[in-house]
Symmetry: C2
Subunit: 332 residues, 2 copies
């Protein structure tokens, strides 16, 4: 019997997940909910540009849809913010449906989100279902993967992770999220407003620190513009020299003035080489590199879909990538 | 309260584990058992060449020692063979003690070992404790790690893993196990007898196949000598040109004549570069490399020690690296 999946949120990531679930054995789409009234009533296949009908109508009332289609799991992709998604989580969990979500702040709740996380944990336990936040980053390349590497270590002194991505092959909203095409002033303003940034470094740092047993006294998260020194283009836009082509973001976790964890991200149009790298200072030291990097959009959709069977067998409550079964492709 | 650890088997790996446990927070050594009568009655620190007493006497009677020291977990490092360790497992599990073991065949039981594995699983469930087989290989570099990487994949078509190690920096028994110093004829004879080989490729292939949902119809495991073309040395021995300096071992998992999984190992004195590499053919494709490789002796001891807290919180039964909590350093 395939698992019945309800999709909540049909932005670019939500759509990428629908496309994967539609073609995976063991999963069947029973419903899709989005707040955009223009999508309501349309066939999900049309909304997702699939060129074929999925025979599932997009709806706008979450509770009513759950009661009518009785999903085994809800995949929630509506916001990066834990506080923003809380009402949706409450609705889904009151109806006792497990959740896999790409909400970045859910991947590993930081201090300021712990009260909200505790609420979700309590609701999930009452419903006797599991909730998981996942994605490629946070959720994998800058946290779960470096954590897994340390399994072979006798001692870990520090962890450094680099994620460098040529953003020109990514979707337009991602290129906008990293500030491509803005002036430096516009970029600074968007950073101030919080609309240009990667959400997740503090979450990843907290996850690593907890796994290593390190009590941090400070976490930093700083964003710089990457300014084009020559014209760079993607299929969606061209950035002239002097304008911003992306961002450089650095997170660090300190204990007694020493950075035990350093996460370095570069995402900009025209980056000469995409890669993911992890350096573990310890015994033995480890030096891992994924040439070409892990493609963000495919990866976030994949890890979300691959996590569904693991969440369905996990213990009730708010889970993280640290306490579900070993992450893996799940498809056959 | 630290977890009380009983060490069973004081060969090179067992000793390396004792040395780590002795210096880790959260763990305390309460006993050590070995079949070698020369070790019985000696202080464990002396037997492990630690230059200090551990105030634990090595004993030879497993059941009596468990009843007297009441460990929270037993670390078993006595043999590669599941059938050989079965009597020890029975003794430990009848006394309701969880087990972490470096027994290679336990890392992921292959078809011919499933009956024995089922016995251990039943004993562990009856005792309401978990049992885990782990190590660097099998247990990590050629199975758990490639499996984890596929978590970001939408599709996986094939997996290839390389593990190349300069054996000159490894312990003497390892150098002997890979046939260093033998003639080609002696090597062939030892391969025939099963005393020169890496145990674990079939286990790793089976673990990967199960994680991917692939039903294999054939697993191969072939050993070739690596012959020195110039004199190569370690601190323990020198191999003249024309003699064997190590082994090359290839495992593959086939479905319908196609190799979906290929594991390639080289371990010989004088390998120019040690590394571990994983290539996942799929969407997205992945190309990972650990420069310098993962040092086998430290890594096997580390992952065993790091698994102790995870085994103590795992569900009862025979567990594998696929179903305990996310592997990681655990020390603080």
């Amino acid at each position: 019997m395939p698992f019945k999946v309800l999709h909540v949120g049909l932005g670019p990531i939500g759509i990428a997940i629908v496309r994967q679930v539609a073609s995976r054995k063991g999963l069947t789409i029973v419903g899709a909910v989005d707040i955009d009234p223009a999508k309501a009533g349309q066939d999900l296949g049309d909304v997702c540009g699939m060129g074929r009908k999925l025979r599932v109508k997009v709806t706008s009332d979450l509770a009513r849809t759950i009661k009518s289609v009785r999903p085994d799991v809800a995949v929630l992709c509506t916001s990066s913010s834990l506080k923003k998604v809380l009402p949706e989580f409450e609705t889904v969990l009151k109806l006792k449906v497990p959740i896999v979500s790409t909400t970045e702040e859910l991947a590993y709740p930081v201090k300021s989100n712990r009260a909200t996380a505790r609420k979700i944990d309590a609701l999930a336990k009452r419903a006797r279902v599991a909730v998981l936040g996942t994605g490629v980053n946070p959720g994998f390349t800058m946290d779960a993967l470096p954590i897994v590497l340390t399994a072979v270590c006798e001692r870990v002194d520090a962890i450094e992770v680099d994620r460098v991505q040529d953003a020109s092959i990514r979707r337009l909203p991602f290129q906008q999220k990293i500030g491509a095409g803005l002036t430096r002033e516009e970029f600074a303003e968007r950073v101030r407003l919080g609309t240009v940034r990667h959400v997740g470094l503090a979450e990843s740092i907290t996850m690593i620190a907890d796994a290593m047993g390190w009590k941090l006294d400070r976490i930093t998260d700083e964003i710089q513009p990457k300014v084009a020194d020559h014209a760079v283009s993607s299929q969606f836009l061209t950035v002239e020299p002097g304008l911003v082509c992306g961002l450089i973001q650095d997170g660090a976790g300190y204990r007694k003035g020493k950075a035990l964890i350093r996460l370095h991200m570069e995402a900009y149009l025209g980056a000469p080489e995409s890669f993911d790298a992890v350096r573990v200072a310890g015994t033995p030291p480890l030096n891992m590199r994924i040439a070409g990097g892990v493609h963000g959009d495919i990866a976030t959709a994949s890890i979300t879909v691959n996590s569904i069977p693991k969440v369905l067998q996990a213990a009730p409550g708010l889970r993280t990538m640290r306490d579900i079964a070993l992450p893996s492709f799940a498809g056959g």
